[in-house]
């Protein structure tokens, strides 16, 4: 069933039913393998736009014949739509009292490990040997601009 079709059944609902039946039968016969994957919600930009005809790019053209019954526009019954009347668990938006004033992120001073002097071992203490302080790192040579 297609809602909002301006074309007749053979042009709109027919091709859809055909595709479903053909693919289902082909799958049963092992000629077609429908890959099941995650589906995004089906949504068209203008859902109330009337549909004249349905064609599938990989199924050939679906040309409507002139000897077809046209869609009837004189219905006087109101459609009964199956809307889910259940109340979901809706998360309310934050109100003024629940707004959190975020503090500006202050860079946290991180502790830097310092190389501590190793204590003297037993023999060093016994013979009075003292450790030499670590030599200061040699500064990198300063590049002087070349003079011609």
């Amino acid at each position: 069933m297609v809602q909002g079709a301006s074309g007749h059944g053979g042009e709109v609902a027919g091709p859809i039913a055909t595709r479903i039946l053909e693919r289902t039968l082909a799958q049963d016969e092992g000629k077609f393998d429908m890959q099941v994957a995650w589906l995004a919600p089906a949504h068209k930009a203008n859902p109330l736009q009337l549909i004249k005809a349905v064609t599938y790019h990989d199924a050939g053209g679906n040309l409507g014949g002139e000897d077809e019954e046209t869609a009837d526009q004189s219905q006087n019954a109101t459609a009964q739509m199956a809307s889910a009347d259940s109340a979901p668990d809706v998360e309310p938006e934050a109100d003024s009292q629940g707004k959190v004033r975020r503090r500006a992120s202050v860079p946290v001073a991180r502790a830097v490990p310092v190389a501590t002097q190793q204590p003297r071992n037993f023999f060093q203490r016994l013979f009075g040997v003292r450790r030499q302080p670590a030599p200061a790192p040699t500064p990198s040579p300063v590049r002087r601009p070349r003079t011609r």
Partner: protein
């Protein structure tokens, strides 16, 4: 002298004896406390410093007929506020908490009441600490206060479904706040997104909290419940049994370990009759249009193999709860994505001519050989009912039932329907389930209209039933409303030779050990046998049913012009349907 004569060895032995006696006394006392009265002390310890946590139950999975999982569970972390603990913590640290006034109705009389201002407590003592750790989030303060007033026993979910880095931050930094805790909960995951979203439904927080049960636990973590469709109709089977975790509290009242745990039990798995691959085929085909519904059933047993509707929605957006803006967007969508068009009722048009055809073949009515002429239309009273062919400047001429089905002649069915009578059309319609519920228990299912004189008297008392009304019903117009599901079941009845089954969507419900779920009488809760709604063969002979089927199988020729490729392509669907019917009949 005598002192000197004491043997030093004897002294040592005496000392050793004294030590042994002392050690023995200590050991005896230890045995007395630990072994002889151990149970007594343990009981005292448990009674005074034990906290219980309700572990939410894990729902069963929903699978298709081949065992492919459509709905499963995943772990979700959330930050919960145990509000009474917070108030208690505030009282211990700062004294009496700030109060707020609200108007309550007690015995039908409005009265001003006071309660701790939980918003001030949270904003003053909890949020700043969370903000320091960059874990604070905006929340609805009004909901928090209402939650404290009405659902004190249940924790307030401050942040739901937190991501791993946030959870790691919480775990890394001991927030050290009373009543703030991270809970892991099983939440639903709809594996294929929007696939079969109108069938599976979604879950949410329960409307009512079982307060009696909640009071039994120190910390209560509630279950979710099915809110729509299969999740709702199969809720009693899908729900598992909750577990309990017993926590040990130290002398300061803080929890320092787990004593024991009774794990929750997962609910039963529900197997649908659905074939996910056929469902995917149907959904892919429907995406060519904006609003449509389709149903594929097995005519041999009424099993629903696919039921699709577009536009659709992703039920994962409802998990664990839908954001207000997303809910508004779904409701405001012009395409109504929440509507299941496969069970919505619309005027069926010419597809209803099948029911009219059967009405003329029922019981004493024998219009199998009747022929009526089509001159472009028929007059009833002062109204001329046109046949669709008149617009094309043709006529169908004088034709019989099979040919009338083949060319879908309106003029034939105006006359045929009146000859059969509205009572007979009504009777066949009801036998095929038109105007009645399918029994699938899908949310919002519409029953449609099977109009007749009695229906008219109830719904439109100012109108009088006439031949014109019968003519309108005969071609599926007027007040006639039918859902794709109802129509599919009617056509499946013709396909299988006259047995109208109730549609089946749930095939079986199995416990986690694979055994079927039983009801209170020890019977299988969901039997796998198909249910027969009616048997047309009791009122219509099989050869007459076959006549209608023959009409459906006939290929429609082009009128007064040679057949073209276009005509063949247009009616390709009918030929495929015929093959399907033949296949289903042969398998039967």
């Amino acid at each position: 002298m005598s002192r000197r004569s004491i043997n030093p060895r004897l002294r040592i032995q005496f000392l050793a004896l004294l030590m042994l006696m002392g050690m023995g006394t200590l050991g005896l006392r230890l045995w007395w406390i630990q072994v002889a009265h151990g149970a007594e002390w343990t009981a005292q310890l448990r009674g005074s410093s034990q906290a219980t946590v309700r572990i939410p139950s894990v729902r069963g999975e929903i699978k298709d007929r081949n065992g492919l999982t459509l709905v499963q569970n995943r772990g979700s972390y959330e930050v919960d506020f145990y509000l009474p603990e917070m108030v208690k913590g505030y009282r211990e640290r700062f004294g009496s908490p700030p109060l707020t006034e609200y108007r309550a109705t007690i015995n039908g009389m409005p009265k001003d009441q006071k309660e701790p201002d939980i918003i001030k407590i949270v904003n003053g003592g909890i949020i700043p600490r969370l903000n320091d750790l960059d874990l604070a989030r905006d929340y609805n303060a009004g909901k928090l206060q209402r939650h404290y007033r009405n659902d004190t026993e249940v924790p307030f979910s401050y942040i739901k479904d937190i991501d791993f880095p946030t959870m790691a931050k919480f775990s890394e930094h001991d927030v050290g706040l009373p009543g703030v805790d991270i809970a892991i909960k099983p939440v639903r995951s709809y594996v294929y997104g929007a696939l079969a979203s109108h069938l599976l439904g979604y879950v949410g927080a329960p409307d009512d909290i079982n307060r009696e049960e909640a009071r039994k636990f120190t910390f209560y973590q509630g279950d979710v419940e099915g809110k729509s469709n299969i999740e709702k109709s199969m809720d009693e089977y899908l729900r598992g049994k909750p577990g309990v975790r017993y926590l040990r509290r130290n002398a300061k009242g803080t929890i320092d370990g787990v004593l024991r745990e009774d794990p929750p039990k997962q609910g039963a798995n529900v197997f649908l009759t659905l074939d996910t691959r056929i469902q995917a085929i149907a959904e892919e085909a429907l995406r060519a249009v904006s609003r449509a519904g389709a149903v594929v059933v097995d005519p041999n047993n009424g099993n629903v193999l696919a039921m699709a509707s577009v536009p659709s929605f992703d039920p994962n957006t409802f998990i664990p709860s839908i954001k207000a803006k997303d809910w508004k967007a779904l409701q405001k969508d012009e395409g109504d994505p929440l509507v299941n068009r496969a069970i919505s009722c619309l005027p069926p048009g010419s597809t209803f001519k099948l029911i009219t055809s059967l009405a003329g073949l029922r019981g004493t009515k024998n219009l199998a050989g009747a022929k009526y002429s089509c001159g472009g239309g028929v007059s009833y009273g002062d109204h001329f009912f046109r046949c669709w062919v008149a617009e094309k400047h043709y006529t169908h001429g004088t034709i019989g039932l099979a040919d009338a089905i083949k060319v879908s002649c309106d003029s034939f069915f105006y006359q045929y329907g009146n000859a059969a009578g509205i009572q007979s059309i009504d009777a066949v319609g009801k036998m095929l389930g038109i105007g009645e519920e399918s029994g699938l228990q899908l949310s919002g299912e519409q029953t449609g209209n099977m109009p007749g004189p009695e229906w008219m008297q109830i719904h439109h008392p100012q109108e009088r039933w006439s031949q014109a009304q019968t003519a309108n019903v005969s071609i599926g117009q007027g007040y006639t409303l039918v859902s794709p599901l109802q129509l599919t079941m009617a056509y499946a009845t013709i396909a299988n030779g006259g047995v109208c089954y109730y549609p089946r969507l749930v095939d079986r419900v199995l416990n986690q050990d694979g055994s079927p779920v039983l009801d209170e009488h020890g019977n299988v809760a969901v039997p796998q046998t198909p249910r027969v709604r009616s048997d047309l063969r009791q009122e219509i002979s099989p050869d007459k049913i076959d006549l209608v089927r023959k009409g459906l199988w006939l290929e429609k020729p082009a009128l007064r012009r040679p057949p073209t490729v276009a005509t063949k392509k247009t009616w390709r669907g009918l030929r495929v349907s015929r093959h399907l019917i033949i296949r289903s009949m042969s398998s039967q």
